[in-house]
Each structure stands twice: as structure tokens, then as C-alpha cells.
Amino acid sequence: MKREIPILLTVICGLLITISFFAPSSNPGAVPPVEPPVWQAVNAELLEWAKILFAVAFLLGIANLFRINLKQIAAGHEDRVYKAVLLVTMSGFLVVGLADTHARDLPRPLLAALVPARTLVLSDGGTLDGYVIARSQTDVTLRTGPGLEPTVIPLERIASETAPSLKLWIYDKLFIPLQATMFSLLAFYVASAAFRAFRARSLEATLLLAAGCVVMLGQVPIGNEATGGLAGRALAFLMTYVSTAGIRAIIIGATLGGLATGLRIVLGIERSYLSE
């Protein structure tokens, strides 16, 4: 049963999604009138279930990360400091993120320690720092002052509001620069890979080198200018006919392969992705 139930679920879900893809969507003006889009609702519901599964599976990932790294830290691995930094950073960000999302429910000491206060600029020019715990049509309830006591501020007294977020600050100031750094490495890797790929060791490599040179010349204004527009025309020819033909051949082949694999999985013929 460990194998049969997942296969049955795969077949049922696969067929439902396929039917919903081909079912007519709602069209009030259709003649004869079209039934309400039941299959689209089924599809949407299944996708919601998938989101829940993904969220639950995320815990698996965190558990895996903790298990492997804690084990290596305990064993005195030479990189244990980095592993500790990873776990501390991950846990810290998790705490900050949760605190940011659930600020209203946090006890006061934790609130003050983990969540940056909002600043309300009042219409009389003064400012007020605190944490918004409730809003209504007429006023805002704010925890403010040394004791973080709830204070009701009428909306007409508030000119503007700023909401700093530690979570977003970490993301913007640390994570995005780190990500950009990794992405920037691509420039160097492209150069080193191109250097190797463009060595004219065979007829194919020579053709690649020639095509590469034409494309590079055609892409930059100076190259196009220096060749009297020839490089631009050659670039257009290579990209429109040669490159596009190759790309389409790859796409058609890959699509048919993907379709065959998809059909085998949806119909329950392909089972090798499950354990026996």
C-alpha cells in the first residue's frame, strides 16, 4: 500500500488537473450557456493543498539542515565555526521574522527587543514612537512610552507613519548584497569559460569562435561601425535563422520528451520516482 496509494493519488490529481486545463472557462455570453467552471475550482483547490504541503515540507528542510550541521559541530568538524554561524543566523532571522509578523501578540519585553518601533508624525509636528496593536476607522491604538502602555490616537492627529522592519533591513542590507556578489562572479566565469570554448582546436570550435566574434562585433556599436554594418547584418542572420532554428529543434525535442514523461507519470506507468 505504501506504493499504491501515492500512485493512485498521482493519477487522480494528474487527471483532475488535465481535465481542468481543457475544461471551458466561464463565459457568460457563450451560446449555449456554459456551466460554471467547476474544474477550475477543483484545480485552484488542489493548488491550495499543494501550497500547504510545500509549507509543511519546509520544516523537513530546516530539520535536515539542523541535523547535519549540529552533528558536524558536535564532532568538531574543521568548519564548525561557519556551521554555527549558519545555524545562529538562520535561527535569528526566523525569530526576527516571526516577531515582525506577530508583533501584536508579543509580550512587552520581547516586543521592545525584537521589533523596531513605528514612528507616527503628528499633525502638530511632534513624533510618537510605538507599536500599533489595533486600528479602527477613527483611531489607532499604540503601545508607547517607557511602559508600552496602550494609547489611543485619533486618526486626524496623525500626519504620517513610518514602519521600519528589522526583517527587511537584514534582507536589503545583507542578503541582497551577498546575492549580488554571487551573481557578479558570473562575469569572471563567463570570461574563463569563453576562453576555453573559443580555442580553435577543431572545425566545430573554429566555427564557434567565428560565430562568437561576429556576434560580439555585431552587438557593440563600434564593431558594427567598423565593419560598415556587416557585423550587424551577420548578427541578425545568425540570431534569426541559425540560432533560432537550433533553439526550436531543442524545444520541440524536449517538449515531446517532457510530454512522454508527463503522460507516463499521470497514467501511473512511470513509477521509478517512488520507492518499492
Binding site: S25, E35, I68, A193, I250, A254, G258, A260, S272, Y273
Partner: protein, 299 residues
């Protein structure tokens, strides 16, 4: 070319199609009907090919060097006493390439278990983690050596693309795998991974159906499995008749697609010539109508 003889039946065929489309519209999105017919046709060819293959008809598959090198790469890692690294791409399990990568992983895990070589599988998605663990475990069991499964070698690194990429680069540099196998859906990280692996001197095999990343793999890897070859991996490695039949079905469909392309180009050219002739005062033929019918059927 004069196509006017067919004008009557073209009109009748178009009318018949319109009537059928209207009748079917409460049950099916009519604009998706050609897709459904194409999928049904492909499915029929696939099942017929599988049946013929199972009856013992020999279906030849051309040599794919990258797949022949798979065993060689794992063997090399065994000789060097170093692990094999398998990267299943950076997309989620809903992507067909990732699902297929899990099937290839099972085969790689079986070979690695047969040779007694550690297999490291870093994953980017926690659902893929569960699939990868199962695939490696099953591969070890297929080899008759379930004891070679090391749970800690299937590692979730990060859901973020470049954090995942940095994690793999770290594994390549610290644990020095002798063979890097990258199979699945890749994006901008493909060249970073392939170049880092090249720098460590590992033998590298990459496979993807994503054409944008193929040039990077071709430039930086020893062997590249591209496009349709990627979906032929399990058939090529196992020679299981049902799977080999699928490859034949793809080939038959490609031939049919080529015939349709040529027909479409011919009809489009004839339609353009006819339009030019009509503008010059000649009597209109049926090419335009026939091309409209073609577009209706296959467009």
C-alpha cells in the same frame, strides 16, 4: 500553384469544424482542442510503440557519449576514493525536469552503491529533499546494498538560488568530489557551478532541456546531455522496452511535425503569392482559404 479545385470542400470542412466546435464548447475549451488532439495522438503512438517494443521488436538508440561516460565518471571517483556529487537542478518538484532528475538520481545512486562510492546530493527545495532521499535510498536498495545509504549526504542547503549555488561551490571545494553530475532545471547558477567544478578538476556531466543554459554546460563540462537526450536517459541506461518505445514515439511525432511544418510553409507561401496575384488583378484561388483552415487546425 492553382488550388481552386479544392475550394468547395475547404468551405465545407471549415463549416463542419465550426459546427463541431460550437457543439463541443460547453464541454471543452475549443481553442485548446488542437492541443488535446495532439496529446491524444502522441499518447496513441507512444502506447503502440511501447507494445511493439515489449513484443521484442528491436528499437535502436543512437550512442549518447555523455551517458556512456556516466559509469566511467563514477568509476573514476571510486578509484580516487572521492565522492560523487549529484545536483538535481534548482527548480521545484512540479517541474518535469526535476521529476526526471529524481529518476536519473536513482540510477546514479545504484551505480555509486555498487561501487561503494559516497554520493552527495545537495537540494534547493524541501519537497525535492524528500524525493531525493527516497531516490538515493531506493538506488542503494536496487544495488543490493541498502547499508551504503548515508542520510546526511542528501542535504538541503537553501531555497535561495545563489545561497544554494554558494553551498554547492563550497562542497566542491571542500569535499573535492571526483565527479560532478548536474541534471535538471538550471538557471543563472549553471555556469558558476560548472566552472567551479572545472576548477576542482572533477569530471563533469551535465544534462538539461533548458536551452538557455546549454552553452554554459557545453563550454564548461566534459559531457553535456541536451534537450530530448535528457528525457532519454533512463531508457538509454535501462533499455527497458516500455521506455525505449517512448523514444520511438517522440521520433515518429517529430517526423509528423516536420511534415506539418513543410506543409505550413508551403501553404503560407502560396497564400502570400495568391494575395499578391489578387492585388494585381488575377482571380483568387483557394490557397488563402486552405492556409486559414491549416491555421484553424494546427495554429
Amino acid at each position: 500553384m492553382d488550388l481552386s479545385a479544392g475550394a468547395t470542400w475547404i468551405g465545407a470542412a471549415t463549416l463542419w469544424l465550426n459546427e463541431r466546435a460550437l457543439a463541443l464548447s460547453p464541454w471543452i475549451a475549443v481553442n485548446k482542442l488542437p492541443t488535446l488532439v495532439a496529446i491524444a495522438g502522441f499518447g496513441a503512438i507512444m502506447f503502440a510503440s511501447q507494445r511493439r517494443a515489449r513484443r521484442g521488436e528491436a528499437i535502436e538508440i543512437r550512442r549518447i557519449n555523455g551517458l556512456d561516460a556516466l559509469d566511467e565518471a563514477i568509476g573514476r571517483a571510486t578509484e580516487m576514493g572521492r565522492p560523487v556529487l549529484y545536483v538535481p537542478g534548482t527548480d521545484e518538484i512540479k517541474e518535469i525536469q526535476t521529476i526526471y532528475s529524481m529518476m536519473i538520481l536513482r540510477h546514479v545512486a545504484r551505480k555509486a552503491a555498487e561501487f561503494g562510492t559516497p554520493l552527495i546530493v545537495p537540494v534547493k527545495n524541501s519537497v525535492v529533499l524528500a524525493f531525493a532521499e527516497e531516490a538515493v535510498k531506493q538506488g542503494c536498495a536496487d544495488a543490493g546494498r541498502p547499508d551504503t545509504f548515508i542520510p546526511d549526504n542528501v542535504r538541503y542547503l537553501s531555497d535561495e538560488q545563489f545561497a544554494y549555488c554558494a553551498g554547492i561551490a563550497g562542497i566542491m571545494n571542500r569535499e573535492r568530489p571526483a565527479a560532478n553530475i548536474m541534471m535538471g532545471m538550471f538557471f543563472a547558477e549553471s555556469l558558476i557551478l560548472a566552472e567551479t567544478g572545472f576548477g576542482t578538476g572533477a569530471i563533469q556531466l551535465a544534462g538539461t532541456a533548458r536551452y538557455e543554459q546549454l552553452p554554459f554546460f557545453v563550454a564548461a563540462c566534459d559531457y553535456t546531455i541536451m534537450g530530448e537526450e535528457y528525457f532519454a536517459v533512463t531508457a538509454y541506461l535501462t533499455r527497458e522496452p516500455g521506455l525505449v518505445g517512448t523514444i520511438r514515439a517522440s521520433d515518429v511525432t517529430k517526423v509528423a511535425a516536420m511534415v506539418l511544418f513543410v506543409l505550413g510553409v508551403w501553404l503560407a507561401t502560396a497564400a502570400v503569392n495568391e494575395a499578391a496575384g489578387t492585388a494585381a488583378g488575377r482571380a483568387p484561388g483557394a490557397a488563402g482559404e486552405l492556409f486559414a483552415l491549416y491555421q484553424r487546425l494546427f495554429g
